[in-house]
């Protein structure tokens, strides 16, 4: 009999029953002595077991069977329902939900651990506390050999486990937004301890570029079953396993690593980048061809290239900790040299960045840390006089923010004296005379001027303010931004923001004055419609009110073209966001998204700062890439 036509029916009906199960469970939990919800639950699980067995979904049937046993024991007062039992049954329902969604006739293994737990719980019901004596042979043939003291053995495993344990999670196939579901799992996992080494990286998860399976390491001493239960409870999670990811195929053995010359990875990356462009072109040509076989093949190539790109990107991701590790020593040496007490802390060492960016980020950080130690942190006596503890603090932290990584160097030192910097800026002609306040923006521009010293005195450590300008130059070359926040007497934060990867950038294509420009998505907060009627003027600048926010506008057409073309009253608008600053970039049209490869070119003189680079689009024509930071 061909069962496939019943699969949909099975799924629909099982979902219904499982929903009912959840309702019954909730009701029962509120009134643990009432029997009616137990009966309903038992019936639903029983029905699912029958259907699953008919369909040949052995895994589902086995789990349902074990749950049914436990419920039966409860119905017959052999076991009393306690919170642990409820928790277990909720997990069963969730797991059955996942298993039902994933069941497709191929042999699905039952969730063995869960069955073991169910059997143990049902056995506990025999009234005897000596579970160890329960006879495994008497058990249903389906169940695994029940090594009796399960909780103990699990506990032992947990204590023996390394501090950082591998976790592999599979999101149910039918789940919507599996990437967001994965984020939910990660978020829940963070409650147990530090999460690191997420594979594929979160950016990829966010774009749903994975098959529902992802991996991370979790630093926690909590028992595996507790972690598993919590992560399963996120919902639409098919399985949680504590094992290393299989590399290609299903070789579940220990993870093996080889050393690869970075140049090989670079070459591979470049080729994959070109492949991505070629793929885009192929897709564009195919779209015109109207040939089903060609379209199918192109689609297949497209998926293959995307997953290859993801693999190559992932292979290049390296934890920032590799660059951070030299800084504690640096901070220690600096504090001695400068006669200051400095406590140096680091956070987010596990955050990953493309190797090529990571290699470039060390120097800028070095300069900023030197700056903080030298100019930021005060000598102990001054700190005490200012009512602070004699020990100053410098924090180096990394955090993922959207498609960028934010690296912060924060000190609790004296902060930057804006009045003094402003006076200096006036003297050196950096700021116009009428400028009477130094915004954070202007401040960073002033500090980043070559040779502009932030210190009243020049010390051997950070010299003549070269720190900020070197950092700025390097960071801009990476397509990143440098920002500063400072409060006199309280300290400063320098923020470096860099893209996750250099070579391939997801970009939004915008049209202005008949030309196309690429806007890296990493800095796109949202797109809205520019409506003349929503425009106001703030201090002579046109601004757009988007919800309750007032955002200055930039018309791309004005920026790029010499002649003014007519404008319509309503235009698509890209809200660019760098840190907490926003700009509304008004364009003529939005042309969709594309993966672009940043291509080098020999720039002519006068290239405006808002041009961040260039690329070749899917149709083979070059296009310029806008630098979001320069538009703010």
């Amino acid at each position: 009999m061909d069962l496939s036509k019943y699969a949909a029916l099975f799924l629909a009906e099982s979902r219904e029953h499982l929903n009912a199960c959840n309702g019954s469970l909730l009701e029962w939990e509120r009134a643990p002595t009432s029997l009616e919800p137990v009966d309903r639950l038992f019936r639903a699980i029983h029905t699912i077991k029958g259907m699953a067995a008919t369909m040949g979904y052995a895994g589902v049937a086995q789990l349902a069977h074990a749950a049914e046993n436990l419920l039966d024991a409860i119905r017959h007062n052999r076991v009393s329902a306690d919170p642990a039992i409820f928790q277990l049954l909720f997990r069963v329902v969730d797991t059955l939900g996942g298993a039902v969604e994933a069941a497709d006739g191929t042999e699905q293994a039952a969730d063995a651990d869960l069955i073991v737990e169910l059997d143990a719980a049902a056995l506990a019901s025999q009234g005897t506390r000596t579970r160890a004596e329960a006879n495994p042979e008497s058990d249903d043939s389906q169940a695994l050999p029940t090594s009796p003291p399960i909780p103990e053995s699990k506990l032992r495993r947990a204590t023996d486990a390394p501090r950082s344990r591998p976790v592999q999670v599979v999101i149910s196939r039918g789940a919507a937004m599996r990437g967001a579901r994965a984020a939910l799992v990660l978020r829940r996992a963070e409650a147990f301890g530090a999460v690191s080494g997420v594979q594929p990286p979160l950016a990829q998860l966010e774009r749903d570029e994975f098959d529902g399976r992802f991996f991370f390491r979790l630093q926690s001493e909590r028992p595996e079953q507790e972690i598993e239960a919590t992560l399963m409870a996120v919902g639409e999670v098919q399985s949680v396993q504590f094992k290393e990811p299989a590399l290609g195929g299903d070789a579940g053995g220990p993870r093996r690593q080889i050393r690869v010359d970075l140049r090989r990875l670079d070459a591979l990356m470049k080729q994959v980048g070109e492949l991505v462009v070629a793929k885009n072109r192929l897709a564009a040509l195919t779209a015109e061809a109207d040939d089903a076989a060609l379209i199918e093949l192109s689609g297949r190539i497209s998926r293959l290239v995307s997953s290859m790109q993801a693999e190559v990107l992932a292979s290049r991701m390296t934890p920032v900790g590799e660059v951070f590790e030299r800084f504690p020593r640096l901070a220690r040496d600096l504090s001695r040299e400068l006669g200051k007490q400095i406590r140096f802390d680091m956070e987010g060492e596990e955050i990953e960045l493309d190797r090529s960016i990571l290699d470039e980020i060390g120097d800028p950080l070095l300069h900023l840390i030197r700056n903080a130690a030298d100019h930021g942190i005060e000598p102990p006596d001054q700190r005490v006089a200012a009512g602070k503890s004699s020990e100053g603090r410098i924090l180096l932290s990394a955090a993922r923010e959207r498609n960028t990584v934010a690296l912060r160097v924060t000190d609790d030192g004296r902060g930057i004296d804006r009045a003094r910097i402003l006076a200096k800026a006036h003297r050196e002609g950096v700021a116009a005379d009428e400028v009477d306040t130094l915004t954070d923006d202007l401040l960073v521009r002033v500090l980043a001027r070559p040779g502009f010293s932030t210190a009243g005195t020049i010390s051997g450590v950070s010299g003549r303010g070269v720190g900020v300008d070197v950092a700025m130059t390097r960071v801009r070359a990476l397509g990143g931004t440098l920002e500063v926040r400072t409060e006199l007497g309280r300290g400063s934060t320098f923020l470096i923001r860099v893209p996750l990867t250099l070579a391939i950038v997801r970009a939004l294509l915008a049209e202005a004055g008949g030309e196309r420009y690429a806007v890296p998505l990493a800095y796109v907060a949202e797109t809205v419609e520019f409506d003349r009627r929503a425009v106001t003027s703030v201090r002579g600048r046109e601004t757009l009110v988007v919800r309750d926010q007032v955002i200055p506008t930039v018309h791309l057409q004005d920026l790029v073209s010499t002649r003014k073309a007519s404008r319509s009253a309503r235009q698509p608008t890209v809200i660019l966001e760098v840190g907490d600053r926003r700009t509304a970039l008004v364009v003529d049209a939005l042309l969709g998204q594309q993966d672009i490869v940043v291509e080098p070119f020999d720039a002519p003189r006068g290239l405006p700062p808002f041009i961040g680079g260039a690329t070749i689009l899917a149709d083979g024509k070059p296009a310029l890439i806008l630098d979001a930071a320069a538009l703010l």
Binding site: L184, D208, V234, G235
Partner: protein, 120 residues
């Protein structure tokens, strides 16, 4: 006593639909908000067991509202209501403290599943 819900969405249609789904399932919809700002205020006064939160709303979006609510009430149980293609925003909302999400168009069963997960 029924569990209480605050429904936040700028579309009356969506609010009605969500309210129907939840009331039929035995929840008590104690308030509705049509902006993030209202959501924050009403959360403060109503202290509902559950909040459903649209992402795109006038006067403070859903993500901001989540951030604002969770700042003072980290235990708040907020379910994001998103549409296809908003994955990055959903991830942001989760990082801001939202406990789960559903994707429009809603299937009542999916909504209730998510609600139950959030309240579990």
């Amino acid at each position: 006593m029924n569990q209480t819900v605050l429904v936040c969405d700028d579309a009356i249609f969506m609010r009605t639909m969500i309210s129907d789904i939840l009331s039929q399932a035995g929840f008590e919809v104690v308030g509705e908000a049509e902006s993030g700002l209202q959501a924050v205020e009403k959360y403060r006064s109503l202290k509902p067991d559950l909040v459903t939160m649209d992402i795109v709303m006038p006067d403070m979006g859903g993500i901001e509202a989540v951030r604002e609510i969770c700042k003072n009430h980290p235990e708040a149980k907020i379910l994001m209501c998103s549409t296809m293609g908003q994955q990055a925003l959903v991830v942001e909302a989760i990082q801001a403290g939202a406990k789960d999400f559903v994707v429009k168009p809603f299937q009542p069963s999916r909504v209730l599943e998510a609600v139950q997960r959030v309240l579990a």
